[in-house]
Subunit: 199 residues, 2 copies
DNA sequence: TCTATTAAGTTGACGCTGTCAATATTGACA
DNA sequence: TGTCAATATTGACAGCGTCAACTTAATAGA
């Protein structure tokens, strides 16, 4: 019963191995054959659990996104933070995740490898978006009418900076002020300016 | 003299074919062998002009980036616009370029295919960054000390929204307000808030 | 003008990839 | 025990990037 079939829980093992390969060798290193080798199974075994490489990487991206969302939500619910600080935490956690696990963050948005129309992935991304909107709405930084635009702007700002930075942008320049300090300065700008606005 | 060698100007022909393939089939469709077929040359001919696939795609990305920069600069110098409008033009042109040529925009930032440490590409990206900074500095929306942060924030905002949108984000939702109108609303927010700030 | 040199293009091979069809094995259930 | 379906293996195929060996062509020097 423990090992109901030949391998047992190959599906999960494939996901685990994929995650390791992703961290070590980047998205391009996560090949079906490499995964199979790592798990110690023949090169065609994975097809029984995932239709093709895209399906496997989409599943991996979904798991990673879920983890990220969970840890963000966890951190936000555990601490009792002022509303604008909550937004910063949200943004900074995203950025720090990407810096700690660049290849994971790259996979999440890799259109060539991941199917962003997959319902499961779409669902967790939607939850992420809603969490972002909730933070903005809760902060009361803008009119309710503008909340959605505001939330998208925040997400775009963080994702844009993160993505640019992962390509190496700004690295050659003032790298002591770039990175997280730069992000915090941008958030400061973004949030403080809003506070100066009358409701 | 016109055709100094077998093919003549194979190097340029390879670039042209790559551009067409990119538009039609996306970055993954731009394979060395497909390019060679399109030009009508053997599969190993390109190696005489580009060390490997990465070198070829990096050259293509450099050309595309140069074109984009030129058209942005052209538009900005031709019209006599108020300073904040100039920033919007800058941002909107970037976004519209990506919407008109999604695969080109994807290639520009595709870390797996393009070498973002290439000096030529680095140079044109630097020019782009400097142009962005110049617009911000010229607008006088913030203290000189904050200009760099402001410029990076603007670029991050536009790139982030563009990139998220290219993955299909926000498409299922209110798609009449998303896209360019949403970007304009975000820019409005971003710029107007700054104007309310005392100097 | 003839020849030597070198750049440019061809051919064929290698190992890698994803995917599929055919086959073998295993566990579960009747 | 015997059947069946799920699961894994094997082998094949086409496509890919890249390299080495070879052929062709254009230029440079005598």
């Amino acid at each position: 019963m423990k090992q109901p079939f030949h391998h047992g829980s190959l599906k999960q093992a494939l996901l685990d191995a994929s995650g390791t390969l992703l961290d070590q060798h980047g998205p391009d290193g996560v090949t079906i054959r490499a995964i199979a080798r790592k798990v110690g199974v023949s090169h065609a075994a994975p097809v029984n659990h995932y239709k093709d490489r895209e399906a496997l990487l989409t599943a991996l991206a979904t798991v990673l996104f879920k983890d990220l969302l969970a840890s963000v939500k966890g951190k936000l619910s555990s601490k009792d933070l002022p509303t604008t600080a909550r937004i910063s935490v949200f943004a900074i956690m995203l950025f720090e995740y990407a810096m700690a696990h660049p290849n994971r963050y790259r996979l999440l948005w890799h259109t060539g490898l991941v199917n962003h129309n997959d319902p499961e992935l779409l669902d967790v991304m939607d939850q992420f978006y809603n969490a972002c909107c909730a933070e903005i709405a809760g902060a009361g930084l803008c009119s309710e009418r503008d909340a959605e635009t505001y939330a998208i702007a925040l997400w775009s700002l963080v994702h844009g900076y993160t993505d640019l930075r992962l390509t190496g942008m700004f690295e050659a320049k003032n790298d002591k002020i770039n990175g997280r300090p730069r992000l915090e300065a941008m958030l400061d700008m973004f949030l403080n300016q809003s506070r100066n606005k009358s409701p």
